[in-house]
């Protein structure tokens, strides 16, 4: 059995909705509603889902950029959710994040050098000369040039900015990198470079990745295991190959069939889902997917399916697979 680096148990994030003159709570947005998974050392775990499914919120809670409402997060066996500020800061050296929006995540008033150097200063690593050297090294690693160090973020394209974000995350040699849509802003040819780079870095430095993305092709490429999220829950989780070749949950099946394939000859039976994702402030009763599910049964609208292991290493939350147990 592989060693666990991060264990997430029944993690929840409920945002209150306030309304009225007295700002009373009138509802809850269940952004993340009971997510459980384990990250093993050196692996890449992909978290996929459409917008609003809670994948980014999950990522942010793992770094405690958002405080979880409920649940446990164990990093290297240490409970993270109860750490005080000082210990948390110490721990964050081991967990770094690459953010989704390369425009919002870099301070426009700082030079690239200052941006990448900042985590080194915060964690008191190296003297000034060493830090400068490290910054230039990092810039080269992510495909930029050392002379870029003196420039400001607005002088870079969206793609290049994301590379700066990656360089910043790598600066303190973390164990775990939470990458939230790290390549969705990049062009295809650059995206491939960055994915290869992430893979190389993983091999070299023994990094563990939590890779959050909506692009199923990218996730398949980079992940060892994948969890598919829908309305705040993981609906299916398995080894990457298994999930893509033999998906069990109707949502995963529909999601996979919806991806346009760069091959005009490739005929396939597309499952086109009707309607939109329901609002997480008012999720449907029973299985959250039953309103759009082509295989929905009576039981689906009333009973929440349990997230269970249906085959070794293959978990899903769907009533279709419940008789198997009997």
């Amino acid at each position: 059995m592989q060693e666990a680096l991060l264990e997430v148990k029944q993690l929840k994030k409920h945002f209150p909705i306030q309304g009225g003159v007295l700002k009373q709570q009138v509802g809850t947005v269940k952004a993340v509603d009971g997510v459980t998974f384990t990250l093993h050392k050196g692996e890449t775990f992909g978290l996929v889902g459409e917008s609003g499914c809670g994948k980014s919120t999950t990522g942010r809670m793992l770094m405690r950029l958002l405080e979880p409402s409920e649940g446990e997060v164990l990093f290297d066996g240490k409970e993270m959710t109860t750490l005080n500020k000082k210990d948390l800061r110490h721990l964050r050296k081991d967990i770094q994040m690459v953010f989704q929006d390369p425009f919002a995540s870099l301070n426009p008033r700082h030079t690239v050098e200052k941006i990448i150097e900042e985590p080194l200063i915060v964690h008191q690593l190296g003297n000034k000369a060493e830090r400068k050297k490290r910054v230039r090294e990092l810039l080269e690693i992510v495909g930029l040039s050392a002379y870029h160090a003196k420039r400001y973020p607005h002088q870079f394209s969206g793609g290049q900015r994301q590379r700066i974000g990656i360089a910043r995350a790598l600066a303190v040699n973390p164990k775990l990198i939470i990458a939230d849509e790290p390549v969705s802003a990049l062009d295809v040819s650059i995206q491939a470079q960055v994915l290869n780079l992430l893979e190389d870095l993983q091999k070299e430095l023994g990094l563990t990745y939590l890779f959050i993305a909506h692009d199923l092709g990218v996730v398949r490429h980079i992940s060892d295991r994948v969890g598919v999220m829908y309305l705040g829950r993981i609906v299916e989780m398995a080894d990457s190959e298994k999930l893509y070749l033999d998906s069990k949950h109707p949502y995963t099946q529909a999601l996979l069939s919806a991806v346009p394939v760069p091959d005009p000859e490739y005929g396939k039976d597309r499952i086109i889902l009707k309607g939109d994702v329901p609002s997480p402030s008012n999720p449907p009763p029973g299985c959250p997917f039953h309103t759009r599910c082509p295989k929905a049964m009576d039981v689906c609208s009333s009973v929440v399916p349990e997230f269970r292991e249906i085959e070794p290493g293959h978990h899903t939350a769907c009533h279709l697979y419940e008789e198997d147990l009997v």
Partner: protein
């Protein structure tokens, strides 16, 4: 031979910036036939959006169309006055933009925004325009169309907004629909719905579509023909099947290879070395040469023209000057 509905020839759109004149679109030629779906593929900065804005004459300073012709129904759009263009935009050539939230006005109801164009172009009264708008909303598959007319954009989801945008573009039954990254901001399941809708509209109304996108999957899904753009130029064009099965330009080959496929996992993604050049930074030779594995002396000296690389396929690459050199590409692919 079919007469193209829209023909672009030698289009040059330059931006006059402090850093000098930047050729964002550099002698671009293409055409689209009646009822055809043409894909223009390229990465950011390749000039694909500027091309589409040029067709609509929506280029703003410091940009300017400095050369070429855009022929629509036998008339050159470039020589048209702003007043004449207004009659064409939305009426004859419709456009769908990428971001449905920023292209709808948040303070007006959907209905008001939809009938505005219809009333201007068709000179219909409010009631007739309203009824037409409702029927168009139904055509694009929106439920409860009558109620939607009285709602504001923020009350709709991203997919619904994009349907409204398509409805708006289709409202005056244009001959040509230019769709600039229409599904990029959408989730895959919604993207599948929108692509299905566009295919349906293309078949039912025989509208020509120019699909501008960076997503090769989308192109393979919907387009009959493709033009691949790189650094302001079309580097390859041909039928969709030919281009995906036998790409002839090293850039196209690299682009197709570098997409992670949902169907199979490749060991390592092919990646094109280097970065997309800044427009105007390369003055001599082929713009792709610095990133190209096949570049030879001539590539750095002279910019290639579009050379025939197949029965209905052209590539802007010196390799296709003689068949022996072109064989290199086949070997690499296998």
């Amino acid at each position: 031979m079919e007469q193209p509905v829209l023909k672009v020839s030698g289009l040059e759109t330059h931006f006059f910036t402090d850093d000098g004149e930047i050729p964002a679109v550099d002698s671009v030629d293409f055409y689209v036939n009646k009822g055809e779906v043409l894909g223009i593929v390229g990465e950011s900065g390749s000039g694909k959006s500027v091309t589409s804005l040029s067709i609509m004459q929506l280029i703003q300073a410091p940009g300017k169309i400095v050369g070429g012709e855009i022929t629509y129904k036998g008339e050159n759009l470039i020589s048209k006055s702003e007043k004449e263009m207004r009659k064409i935009r939305g009426n004859e050539i419709g456009m769908i933009f990428q971001e449905p939230m920023t292209s709808l006005n948040p303070v007006f109801r959907i209905g008001n925004q939809l009938i505005e164009g219809i009333r201007i172009h068709k000179k219909w009264n409010k009631k007739k325009a309203w009824e037409h708008a409702v029927s168009i909303l139904k055509l694009v598959g929106l439920p409860r169309a009558e109620e939607l007319m009285n709602e504001y954009p923020h009350q709709l989801s991203g997919g619904m907004r994009q349907r409204v945008m398509i409805a708006m573009a289709m409202a005056c039954e244009p001959e040509v629909l230019i769709a600039d990254e229409p599904t990029t901001a959408l989730d895959v399941t919604i993207q599948a719905q929108i692509l299905e809708l566009m295919k349906k509209l293309n078949k039912e109304t025989n509208t020509s579509i120019i699909m501008i996108t960076h997503d090769l999957g989308v192109v393979a899904e919907i387009c009959d023909r493709i033009a691949v753009m790189y650094s302001g130029k079309i580097v390859e064009q041909g039928k969709t099947q030919d281009i995906f099965q036998h790409p002839k330009h090293p850039y196209t080959i690299g682009l197709i290879e570098s997409v992670p496929d949902v169907r199979v996992r490749k060991d390592r993604l092919y990646s094109i070395p280097g970065n997309v050049p800044k427009p105007g930074s390369i003055h001599k030779g082929c713009h792709f040469a610095p990133r190209c594995n096949f570049a030879f002396d001539k590539c750095y000296e002279e910019n290639p023209t579009l050379l025939d690389a197949g029965p209905a396929q052209q590539a802007r690459c010196w390799l296709h000057e003689d068949a022996k050199k072109a064989a290199v590409l086949e070997r690499v692919k296998s």
